[in-house]
């Protein structure tokens, strides 16, 4: 079984860009900064970050042929060619009119180019591939595409973000804009920037997508989570990524 010995140079690059971003006027905080030191250390060490187990798996899957076309991702996308990709998703694919998130884009490739079945949502394979792709954008600033067609979806996302939901009648904005930095049940409320996705969430003891985390939020405010394939999640992500524009990506992040 292959082992990855990854130089911690990448981690130090991340730190430097992070420090530079904080040194300037950007006061935004990633969830990383709201974690305790022990968890930050867990994220920083590539051989101790449980998310890296999934990145390693993704790297193996990248080279595996699939579908009736019997092609692997690597057949079209050379190693390292995914740099910067995760930083500019969600995006509207060519010949489409709706944005997709990274997992959606991977499944589009599976069905259209590999002629394979799409991978199940939140499946280990899909998340590992997404983690492998996102990992290659680590340290890159979040850079949503300037596609004007994204405008309405971003606006829809902003509307969902500010809309009160659930039995607790809370909107995302009430916690993550108005009360970020304060404590909720002993834990600091983060600003909710999607800087680390897919994340290894300790609560899940597994890697998971932003969609899964958003569903947890909805359950947290005692609302009924939108259907798994609802476009609301992608719209929210378009808005959140725009809100986090310029912040460095940390995938795979570790979060409590």
């Amino acid at each position: 079984m292959k082992t990855i010995r990854i130089a911690l140079g990448l981690a130090s690059v991340f730190f430097t860009t992070f420090a530079l971003a904080q040194g300037s006027i950007d006061k935004r905080r990633s969830g990383y900064q709201d974690m305790g030191e022990a968890l930050q250390k867990m994220q920083d060490d590539d051989t101790a970050n449980p998310g890296m187990l999934f990145v390693q798996l993704g790297e193996q899957l990248w080279a595996k042929p699939a579908g009736t076309a019997n092609k692997s991702c690597a057949d079209c996308h050379a190693t390292g060619s995914m740099k910067g990709v995760a930083a500019r998703y969600p995006a509207i694919p060519k010949d489409a009119d709706k944005p997709v998130d990274l997992e959606g884009r991977i499944n589009l490739c599976r069905t259209a180019n590999q002629q394979a079945d799409p991978l199940a949502p939140e499946s280990r394979e899909l998340l590992s591939l997404a983690a492998y792709v996102a990992f290659q954008s680590r340290g890159q600033p979040i850079a949503p595409p300037s596609d004007p067609r994204l405008g309405p979806f971003r606006a829809q996302g902003a509307e969902i973000y500010r809309r009160r939901e659930g039995q607790l009648n809370l909107s995302c904005a009430i916690c993550h804009d108005d009360n970020a930095g304060k404590k909720l049940a002993g834990v600091t409320i983060p600003e909710a920037h999607p800087t680390g996705y897919p994340i290894y969430r300790l609560e899940w003891q597994a890697l998971g997508s932003l969609k899964r985390r958003l569903r947890n939020c909805l359950v947290g405010i005692r609302a009924e989570a939108f259907a798994y394939d609802a476009p609301d999640y992608v719209a929210l992500e378009v808005y959140l990524m725009d809100r986090a524009k310029g912040m460095p990506l940390e995938a795979p992040g570790v979060r409590p």
Binding site: A38, V187, G220, A225
Partner: protein, 178 residues
């Protein structure tokens, strides 16, 4: 270790109350315990494990099994745990023992115990002079705020220990149980 939480917690005296006992038996993690409790008390009636729980007495018994009649002295052992744990599912822990780790004087074993998980053992490690340093790091599950005890056994048959009080908080936003 210092308690740093702003949430005042009553010190657990004696065995767990019946609800707490069944909650502890319900699951390893604080998140799982309370989520199931909130989701439906119907689940509590399906409990096949009503009697499985750890208590300070069970932890003492587990320690006795390992240590026998030996005396445990406090010292030489350092137990590093975050005082406030963001999630009880994965808690980083480091045990270090002050020892020259020579063939004549070294740590033979390190045992870690807990008092509120469904069972008292966390891990046992065997070491020797080949380690150079008696330092072990791992990640553990903690079902609730509790005391953790690390015991080091040296080559001369002495037992040294350290303990830490850990506060475990619950994630605010969780999975839909259904």
């Amino acid at each position: 270790m210092k308690r740093t939480s702003v949430i005042p917690r009553p010190k657990a005296e004696g065995p767990l109350k019946p609800q707490e006992r069944s909650l502890a038996a319900l699951g390893m993690t604080a998140g799982m315990d309370r989520r199931v409790f909130l989701a439906g008390s119907a689940l509590l009636t399906v409990l096949p494990f009503a009697s499985a729980h750890a208590t300070p007495e069970a932890m003492a018994a587990a320690i006795k099994e390992v240590v026998g009649e030996g005396t445990i002295r406090e010292g030489k052992v350092k137990l590093d745990l975050p005082p406030l744990v963001e999630n009880g599912n994965v808690v980083p822990l480091t045990v270090s023992v002050d020892s020259p780790m020579t063939p004549a004087d070294h740590v033979k074993a390190i045992h870690v115990f807990n008092e509120k998980n469904p069972q008292p053992h966390v891990f046992s490690a065997r070491l020797g002079p080949r380690n150079g340093k008696a330092v072990i790091g791992t990640r553990i599950k903690l079902a609730d705020s509790q005391k953790i005890i690390a015991i080091a056994e040296t080559s001369s048959g002495a037992f040294w220990s350290a303990s830490a009080d850990v506060i475990v908080t619950l994630a605010a936003c969780i999975e839909d149980v259904t």
